[in-house]
Assembly symmetry: C2
């Protein structure tokens, strides 16, 4: 079975439960809005990591479902607000919640998601521990999102943001941001799976590190696909980060290190531009592709995947462990 | 000691704890933004209800503090998003979080508040039960907010809202909205106080009903003050509901029942107007004041306070009980 098939099959296990949770305490109207977010695609990568992590320490898929659903809910909770913050209209090839229902209903649906996370977590074994992990993860994700916004070079009207935004971003600063924004949830996904499967402390630690490394690699590839991906396959605009003035993209950061002063001025000019045209983005992409940035970023993501896989040596052989290793490879090989 | 003094003194007990909770897992920068919401005033009515409810069944103030803080955090969590939704720049005479830091940072601060609620709840005795009560309350508040928005007669750009908005609102519909938007949290405030004070099921039920009735009365008075309040005392614009096209105001609803067809057209015209002027609002207020609407709404709030106080017969005499009864009166006598 291909990794994409595994994701689809195990992901479906989570969907029924997740939709049931979204109904709790919601009017039909709000539920319809909330459902749009999860029924309009998504790879279900994070909940499948939870299920596989549970299985890899001797648990079964069934016992991991509430926690896996909670993880996917956390992800979608942050996506709803992320789309509001970035004024995004398209995700996974379909209109975002805010594009379809407006910002106000998206905010209310987002708030409802947070209560649904609680509803799912309540049904987990070790619910208090899992709640704590998810809440701490959320705090980190919020901080990651804050940094991501402050790494943007233009496009925000708020005087406060204009005052405190970063004028430049180091590789270290970038890493701090993506660790919080992305890696923390991958880490939590694997950790809660390991906990629910009653893994030993050593196993849970190894799974957490596996997840963390996969998360960092995942975000680097996300950055990379934003520059060199294919729109149809990706389900969202290519060059979105450039259009959204984001300096928090490793490929952009690496290329800035390599190019001449005049090209640097050009690239930063497009990042600063209030309405970068398609040809601006194409030209910028050409500049980026003339460097080793894509290659270096890919290499970096490979290093993280290697680290991730090395962590798995702690676990005994199993089908789930094998699938986790294949999933790790998929994270950097994927085209979407 | 006057009721305002009680609120201030007991409210202060909550503030220290609350600010400590806001720091957990937040960067200094985000914490500063989050703190602005709670340090810029507020009557602390809800947390004081929690403390007094705890004391009224034999508990002490100290044991109620985490729960009281959680209740105040829920309130402020919803206010941050409410101000974003209504694009409000002023609350309690000071700039709102969104006015001071922009919508994006307000959203992130709002999300952080939700995690802080969890942080406070964790520290309560009976934490699981309290978490459940607060999460259910939040779901109802979200629904109340949704209805409140859909009761507006204009001012929303979303095609979805334009399609599903209410063209008219009955008194029943209004009650459903304010029960969810306001009464539910007053009810929860008293219930968790009673639970933490180890009240009997009968006492907790009586306190819950007391809170619920107080909450309904509070919202009716809020509506009333929006029309006839004094700006300086109120800390916010008078006539804001009219400006924000809100049909979900009992005084407006009552006056519409009484006035001639032509005045009704006039009033609804101002509610529908995209930029109601100061003189529009003054004229509308005159129309409203020519009816019995204010008197009827006040009478209605008095009825709820009577109900609230009757519930308190279940409780043994105590100073806290007396203060709760005085607080109930304050709710309808207040000018802010």
């Amino acid at each position: 079975m291909s990794v994409v098939d595994v994701l689809s099959r195990k992901g479906k296990l989570v969907d029924d439960f997740l939709l049931r949770m979204l109904k709790v305490g919601a009017s039909n109207e709000l539920c319809e809005i909330a459902k749009h977010q999860v029924t309009s695609g998504g790879k279900r990568l994070r909940p499948v990591l939870t299920i596989l992590s549970c299985e890899a320490v001797g648990g079964n898929a069934q016992m991991a479902i509430p926690a896996a659903a909670a993880i996917e809910l956390v992800h979608n909770y942050t996506l709803i607000f992320d789309d509001i913050i970035d004024r995004s209209d398209l995700r996974r090839g379909l209109p975002t919640v805010r594009a379809k229902y407006g910002d106000v209903m998206a905010i209310l649906a987002g708030m409802h998601y947070r209560e649904t996370i609680f509803e799912a977590t309540k049904r987990c074994s070790k619910s208090m521990e899992i709640e704590e992990i998810l809440s701490m993860a959320l705090r980190r994700i919020i901080e990651g999102e804050r940094l991501d916004v402050l790494f943007e070079q233009a496009g925000r009207e708020s005087e406060y943001i204009k005052k405190v935004m970063y004028k430049s971003v180091s590789e270290n600063g970038y890493c701090r941001m993506i660790e919080a924004k992305t890696a923390v949830l991958f880490e939590a996904a694997c950790r809660v799976g390991g906990l629910i499967g009653n893994g030993t402390p050593g196993e849970v630690k190894a799974l957490s590190r596996f997840g963390w490394n996969c998360g960092v690699a995942f975000q680097i590839i996300d950055d990379l696909l934003d520059i060199v991906g294919e729109e149809g396959t990706l389900g969202k605009e290519v060059g979105k980060d450039i259009k959204e003035h984001k300096l928090g993209n490793l490929v952009i950061l690496y290329s800035l290190e390599e190019i001449s002063k005049s090209l640097k001025t050009k690239l930063l000019g497009v990042l600063n531009s209030h309405n970068a045209s398609k040809s601006d983005i194409e030209e910028t992409t050409k500049i980026i592709l003339s460097t080793n940035a894509v290659k270096r970023a890919y290499k970096k993501s490979e290093d993280f995947i290697k680290e991730a896989k090395a962590e798995m040596n702690t676990l005994s052989p199993s089908e789930a462990k094998n699938t986790l290793l294949r999933l790790a490879d998929f994270i950097i090989e994927r085209k979407f």
